[in-house]
């Protein structure tokens, strides 16, 4: 009954209140719940199952590329955090501090890790001795804490789950290649598994990670035209290695510092899935990470043979797909709405008439397309339709991003677009922080990235008119 009541309250349409639409979905699709701890959430079974699917795919890719999983402590002693100057300046204002253990005051404060470069370096200093020990390709799956003032489920929370890869290499070139390679893994995962088109590029110095030489990013566009930084990859040079005294004996016997990278993707991407694919009926999940890929809804299930047939189809499909039958007492209409809310990619309807014709109906969540399928071709049809869904979701998202991406040559034009049209603005930039800050001030946008795929919009900076160095994507961001 609680369920039925839930379905009666429709979710807020996104056109009316996008933020409310978003939180309606995370709550009503039972992805998360709020807790007594400010900014921390319960990730409920349906939400966590999405994250487990994401973990499974990424973990496999990392391992195929030679990475090994480890586990570092969740605490960082203050003195360790302080070792790299830019890094501590970036993170110290937003960490949680442990000052008491039991009833005793600690001699040195510990922070809960906001990210683990310092811990990995501390360990690497002990285990790296020779060029033969390189590369070290470590990753960990964990949660980290950043004391954010304003939080939103999945998008920005005090505690969030992620993976953080931390690698050490013999040469700068190898480390830079790793940085690019892992950005490529993220981009491929987003586009081909999640159906989220992304722009790959480099962050400006203003937007880069504290302590990094270069930060690379994949930027996705949400329904409301705002950007979501969806994964990042950092190149550190040997800065941390020097600060932490990580050395190795090189091939020529000289003592060298290794070159470092780190890269991360977090539960934030679940927010990205919601805001890229969701609609006013709820969630729309990419098949690769959907906890249920096919929901079987029996029609007129009290009629003889219907439930048996539904179970028979489930047994056939479960060999290759994540499939469930809903044989509860709710009406088919209620079930349709329920699994649309939950974003299940394919609905399979089977009733007495279908059984007579030896067929069933498949309905795709993302475009409502209905397909009649002979039962003896079911496995093949489901595989084909899930592939259609995967492609279709990507194409739909890409078309929307393209329709909401603009170019500006002058500041006036830039401001007009930024004020009136949600989306990204492509514009040339001279490279000066002053112009970046001015665009924030006058147009409310930040630089999203300097894309690898550059376009020549003009010769001069859209802000100051001086010679341009690079084309930049600008936008409002989560």
């Amino acid at each position: 009954m609680a369920e039925q009541k839930k379905m009666v309250e429709a979710i807020t349409p996104m056109e009316e209140d996008f933020a409310k639409w978003y939180t309606d979905i995370v709550k009503k699709a039972e992805l998360m719940d709020y807790t007594s701890v400010r900014g921390c959430m319960v990730i409920e079974p349906y939400g966590w199952a999405i994250w487990e699917n994401i973990q499974h795919i990424l973990d496999q890719r990392f391992k195929e590329l030679g990475h090994e999983n480890v586990s570092m402590p969740m605490f960082i002693p203050e003195s360790l955090l302080n070792k790299e100057k830019e890094h501590v300046e970036g993170f110290a204002p937003e960490v949680a501090w442990i000052t008491m253990g039991g009833n005793e005051k600690l001699q040195e404060r510990l922070c809960v890790r906001p990210t683990s470069e310092t811990l990995f370096c501390d360990h690497y200093a002990k285990v790296i001795h020779s060029w033969r020990d390189l590369p070290k390709l470590y990753n960990q799956w964990c949660s980290v804490v950043r004391w954010e003032k304003t939080t939103r489920p999945f998008l920005r929370s005090v505690e969030f789950h992620w993976q953080e890869g931390h690698t050490m290499h013999e040469t700068a070139q190898e480390a830079e290649e790793e940085t690019q390679r892992m950005l490529g893994v993220y981009a491929d995962f987003c586009e081909n598994e999640l159906g989220i088109p992304v722009i790959k590029g480099r962050k400006t110095d203003k937007e880069k990670f504290s302590g990094a030489v270069a930060t690379y990013t994949i930027e996705a566009m949400m329904h409301d035209g705002k950007a979501l930084q969806s994964g990042t990859s950092h190149y550190f040079g040997d800065g941390f290695a020097k600060a932490f005294n990580v050395t190795f004996q090189g091939r020529d016997n000289s003592i060298c510092h290794p070159f470092q990278t780190s890269w991360g993707m977090s539960t934030r991407i679940i927010g990205g899935i919601i805001m890229t694919h969701g609609d006013n009926d709820g969630l729309v999940l990419p098949p690769a990470v959907a906890p249920i890929q096919v929901i079987i809804v029996p029609v007129a299930q009290h009629k003889p043979g219907v439930l048996d047939k539904a179970q028979e189809l489930r047994k056939r499909l479960k060999k290759a797909f994540r499939v469930r039958v809903d044989d509860s007492d709710q009406s088919p209409g209620w079930k349709f709405a329920q699994y649309e809310m939950k974003g299940v990619p394919l609905r399979l309807e089977i009733g007495p008439k279908d059984i007579e014709k030896n067929q069933c109906v498949l309905v795709r969540r993302h475009d409502r397309q209905k397909i009649f399928v002979p039962l003896d071709q079911l496995e093949q049809a489901v595989a084909e339709q899930l592939e259609q869904v995967r492609k279709g979701m990507y194409e739909k998202a890409l078309a929307r991003r393209e329709s909401m991406t603009y170019s500006a040559k002058t500041l006036e034009e830039f401001k007009k677009i930024a004020d009136s049209k949600p989306g990204f603005v492509k514009a040339m930039w001279c490279g000066d922080l002053a112009c970046e800050e001015k665009l924030k001030e006058v147009a409310g946008v930040s630089s999203r990235c300097m894309p690898f795929e550059q376009e020549h919009i003009g010769d001069t900076c859209v802000c100051c008119g001086k010679p341009a160095k690079t084309m930049v994507y600008w936008g409002k961001a989560y």
Copy 2:
């Protein structure tokens, strides 16, 4: 070369110094490393891979029994921890307290979760409304923190990894059945996958979990005769539910409190594997969780065809087993010692003479048995030998436990055994705390459990001579 040096230093024999033997193994088999944070460790790739294998098996079993994974916050507000009186008394003295967020003092302290009953209850109070919402069968994989004074790798650390299942049921009977069922899952996993024989039983009130009505345990015996509590399962009645105001509408429309369980197994079990199966050459890993199940060592690998054959065998075996070839420049002897140290269950040797005879040699780690295998029967032979290893490891451990388990009828006899013979003592008990405390004082042992499989050792309490209520396993413990 660092590797070679490591092999030259042998590990300390367990007969000489058991504690040193243990830490030698965890370090030299590269399971973990110490960190700058007191009592927290780095779990290195080889150690973490063991834990991932443990997770994989247990997670599958939990899910088959209908459990769902979730993620709760890592912090507990002080007021929430305080809600259940016995629970807070048990845990408050050993938690880490967050008092600052960034530069601001928090209005209310947060502790890092030592266990999550309070968080689950807080959530369950919101999501459980009707008997139709029950049972709730949730589990989470995470790390928890207990501010221990003395710590040892895997066995007792400030931060440790575990899973914690937390379930709510309509009736006391259902909850009690769940408690037993999950203890059974742990026992089966230990015995059949890890080769660790365990005694299933109930903890005395003195030894039970803070806030539980009853705590059940599986107790394993280590090489040195000490007990390792290897997994526990708690029945809470409706105590927490009342304290946290978790209610549901029953089938008769009355307002009821649900009945609760929790159960956990941790990275401690890795310590249990080491101390049950390890020997003076290093680790001995059960095939189910060994990161490498078969190590292929080419002999005279410079001779034509040897490395090719080794790789060919790897390709054949990798379809069903976790297998590697070590084709490094180290000598076969070095490699034999190295993978013995790492506890790899089977070594496959292949050299020119073997190739001529179309055979290879398999060597079992746990009993050094050598088997010559025709290459065309390789897959089958490896499967059979791994099964032999699994059984053999269990039987060896069981025989040792039996040879180190004693019965005592009088206090004098009890003291004599406890003083002179490492192992367990079975003895009758009247049920009084005073006797339990006296046995600790005079014989240095604690009650391990009141086993489900009771034996009649006598009619009277071994300590006070009053009528006995139950037979108890007593021993020194980790």
